[in-house]
């Protein structure tokens, strides 16, 4: 019974869909909801709380875009995606935006026909070892057994690193992070390797974090950022500049607390253009002048998002490092709002 009803509605929607495939912005506005692909669960970046509300660093990008476009950060439908399903979901139009710690690489950008609109987190692969092993550098890991998630770029990075340093290692294949932690704690491997942010979260969750050290070497570049389909430049611009607005807001000292005040007009023309007191940047994007104001109001500036989910005051305790503003020696650099 269910089948036929569903198939009936399917036929109807298929007919409608034929006419209603305009730009993503129009689709989102017509739907009144942003469909955002997120991780099925990654500490600090995307996870549902006990009430089923999604929270995290990547989730806040979705919320900011929804606030800018729809005026309400809660009008997001989160689609949990796995490593396998994420690109298909985006390419087929099932989601409007993929915000799921996805590494920006050449082939994904060029061959898979996606547009990476920016970087919201610069990550890199690191190692964690037990303190009593006495290792202080990854260069000393010659001959070590290493727990490594199979089928990921981390596996390839690891092979490259050991090859270029003329060292050998024994891989212990694992499927998930949780399994890797378990194997590592049980002593099945000397070192555990994954993205540095993941290592920090893992170490923070151990019963004895003081007995484990994260080695200083970062062996890969993992610029993670939101992704959209290629070919809809207006939508790519909206997501790109929403992210830039969050980064610029931190640079100019605009926070969720003072954004209402600053939106009335300041001495700084850059802030005025960003928040819509001057110029018509919002209209150029196809939105209204308050778009960035709403996004910052809803989730805070980049620094606030970082501090709330993964920063040093949280149990994960990540330092800003590469993700500090360019004025602080980091890589976070928004092009000018002009």
């Amino acid at each position: 019974m269910k089948k036929s009803v569903f198939l009936g509605t399917l036929a109807a929607t298929a007919l409608l869909a034929g006419f209603a495939s305009a730009g993503t912005l129009e689709d989102v506005k017509a739907r009144g909801e942003l469909i955002c692909g997120v991780n099925t669960g990654l500490v600090g970046f995307a996870a549902p709380d006990a009430n089923g509300n999604w929270q995290g660093f990547d989730v806040d990008v979705c919320r900011a875009v929804a606030a800018a476009v729809l005026g309400d950060a809660s009008k997001v439908k989160y689609v949990p995606t796995t490593g396998e399903t994420r690109f298909t979901a985006l390419a087929s139009g099932e989601i409007d935006l993929l915000s799921r710690n996805t590494t920006w690489t050449f082939s994904r950008d060029v061959e898979l026909k996606f547009t990476f609109v920016g970087v919201n987190y610069y990550d890199g692969q690191g190692f964690m070892v037990k303190k009593d092993l006495g290792v202080t550098s990854a260069k000393e890991l010659d001959g070590a057994t290493i727990c490594i998630q199979t089928g990921t770029t981390t596996e390839l990075n690891l092979a490259d690193f050991f090859k270029s340093n003329n060292m050998s290692y024994q891989p212990v294949a694992i499927q998930t992070n949780a399994e890797g932690e378990q194997q590592y704690l049980a002593g099945a491997c000397d070192a555990y390797t994954t993205d540095a942010s993941g290592l920090a979260a893992t170490r923070a969750a151990f019963a004895d974090p003081e007995n484990h050290v994260i080695l200083p070497e970062i062996i890969s570049k993992e610029p993670l950022g939101p992704v959209v389909r290629q070919g809809d430049d207006q939508w790519a611009d909206i997501v790109r500049w929403t992210l830039n607005a969050l980064i610029a807001a931190e640079e100019y000292g605009v926070t969720s607390a003072n954004v209402d005040e600053l939106a009335k007009g300041t001495q700084n023309p850059e802030i005025n253009r960003l928040l819509g007191a001057e110029g018509n940047l919002g209209e150029m994007l196809g939105l209204d002048k308050d778009w960035a104001h709403r996004a910052i109001k809803a989730v805070g500036n980049y620094g606030e998002i970082f501090a709330a989910h993964i920063g040093e005051s949280t149990p994960i305790g990540l330092a800003r490092g590469l993700n500090a503003q360019w004025t602080q020696g980091g890589l976070m650099y928004s092009p000018p709002f002009r």
Binding site: V5, S21, N51, K77, T82, T88, S92, A205
Partner: protein, 491 residues
């Protein structure tokens, strides 16, 4: 003579000696132990070794279980409590996670204020299953019915909605009327079993009651047309005409009527329930939705495929064999990926073909292929005489199958069918690979991604595994009950 007799028989016992207790070594637990565990030196050694292993395992795991913490807000708190109560080196389970995330394991992201709907759907499922699983009334069944009715009332009271009670009263009233007209309990509930898919759909997904209503009308229409045409032109044409009528109704009649009825009632209660979309399903609500629908739909499909494979009609046979062999030759995960990824490319962009429905279809097809082969085994086990006897009675194909062959073949196939069902139910956890939040891995990983519970490993698996065990074990016990009940051989 008599003197002699008096001298030789000094004592004559007039009553039997009461039977004495058997020797202590030949009775009760000791006898059982001697016969089963210590019957020889080899068995004695094995018994002692076995005891040592059990003891070792218990020493390893029992403290972990017993030190379990139920009240804490994070894994760190759990560890603190355990360290405080049992010493710094003690290990213990952190069951508090299950306590805090119980709702997520059960309902996924289903809106909290609507939890009564999936629960009600489950209770009604039991009601709908009663006439299918049990043919006569027993005191246990009456007790179960009373408990379910009480639970429904409590549920309605807790959530402040009276729809469940209204539905319960309707079911009881209609069944009581049927009872008075000759259909005995629990047979008189069969009408509800037939209606249950529509009721469950409405309760789970919500929306207007008229959508499932017009869909059911299609079945009714098809059935009436089939009856009318069959009487005139025979069974095959009748079934085809019925199917065509139903499809025509769903294609052209159902939509306008649905809209007209919705236009009349709008979103007024009790014709409207708040809509819940498929992405809010998760946990055991998802596992049960997929599992129960798959089980219910795969059995009839499997029977048809089994009959098709043994059919004399070449086309039917080729299609059945091709379908069964193809589906059985492909891993379920492949089918799920096809449902989730490949279909997205084939369907026009923007089409929203419900992901749960896609998964249900794939799981059903997969299980149906296995069921078909299990039933074919049952069909093959029947002596040829049974087929010939059915033909000799003048029964046509469908009647001989329905009345003579299938009842016997299905009885033989029960263990295999139930095995397939159990496998299907457990396979529902594979949906995690297409991004649905199954209870075993999807929800568990999502919970672990919260910083409070990161690092927890065994507890969620043990919890979800034990619920799966309860459900699968019940299915297995029911199949044993059914086998015993249907046993006709005198062995």
């Amino acid at each position: 003579m008599s003197d002699t007799h008096a001298q030789t028989e000094l004592f004559v016992r007039h009553e039997m000696i009461p039977p004495s207790e058997p020797p202590a070594l030949e009775t009760g637990a000791i006898k059982w132990l001697r016969e089963n565990l210590f019957s020889g030196w080899l068995n004695t050694i094995l018994t002692i070794l076995g005891l040592l292993v059990v003891f070792g395992l218990a020493r390893l795991f029992l403290p972990w279980f017993l030190h379990g913490v139920w009240n804490a807000n994070s894994l760190g708190e759990c560890r603190e409590i355990i360290a405080q109560t049992w010493g710094p080196d003690a290990s213990g389970a952190c069951w508090a996670m299950i306590r805090e995330r119980w709702n997520q394991f059960m309902f996924g992201f289903y809106p909290r204020e609507l939890y009564w709907r999936p629960v009600l759907a489950l209770l009604f499922l039991l009601v709908g299953l009663a006439p299918v699983l049990y043919s006569e009334l027993s005191s246990k069944l009456v007790a179960a019915g009373a408990v379910i009715a009480a639970l429904i009332v409590v549920l309605a009271y807790n959530y402040g909605v009276w729809l469940p009670v209204g539905m319960l009263v309707t079911i009881a009233a209609v069944s009581a009327i049927l009872d008075a007209r000759g259909a005995k309990w629990p047979r008189n509930l069969l009408w509800f079993s037939a209606l249950y898919p529509a009721v469950a759909f409405w309760l789970l997904w919500g929306g207007s009651v008229w959508l499932p209503f017009v869909a059911v009308l299609g079945f009714v229409l098809g059935f009436i047309v089939m009856r009318l045409v069959s009487a005139q032109l025979g069974a095959i044409l009748g079934a085809s005409a019925g199917a065509v009528a139903a499809v025509l109704w769903w294609s052209f009649g159902a939509g306008p009527l649905d809209e007209a009825l919705i236009g009349m009632t709008g979103t007024a209660r009790p014709f409207w329930l708040q809509t819940v979309t498929s992405d809010q399903f998760g946990g055991f609500v998802l596992a049960f939705t997929i599992g129960v629908t798959g089980i219910a739909a795969s059995l009839p499909l499997g029977i048809l495929l089994a009959l098709g494979r043994r059919s004399d009609m070449p086309l039917v046979k080729v299609i059945s064999v091709g379908f069964i062999e193809f589906i059985r030759g492909v891993p379920l995960i492949t089918l799920l990926f096809v449902a989730s990824l490949l279909l997205n490319y084939f369907l026009p962009p923007g089409t929203n073909f419900d992901i749960i429905l896609r998964v249900i279809i794939m799981v059903t097809l997969f299980a149906a292929a296995y069921i078909a082969e299990v039933i074919r085994g049952g069909l093959a086990a029947l002596p040829r005489g049974q087929y010939e006897a059915a033909a000799a009675l003048g029964l046509d194909y469908w009647k001989s199958m329905r009345l003579v062959i299938l009842p016997q073949a299905l009885k033989i196939s029960i263990p295999g069918i139930v095995s397939t069902f159990i496998g299907l139910f457990k396979d529902t956890t594979l949906v995690v690979f297409v991004g649905l939040l199954d209870p075993l891995k999807g929800i568990t990983d999502a919970v672990r991604a919260a910083i409070e519970w990161k690092g927890i490993y065994w507890e969620p698996y043990l919890f979800v595994g034990s619920i799966f065990f309860i459900v699968c074990f019940s299915m297995s016990r029911y199949s044993m009950y059914l086998e015993n009940k249907l046993k006709r051989e005198h062995r």
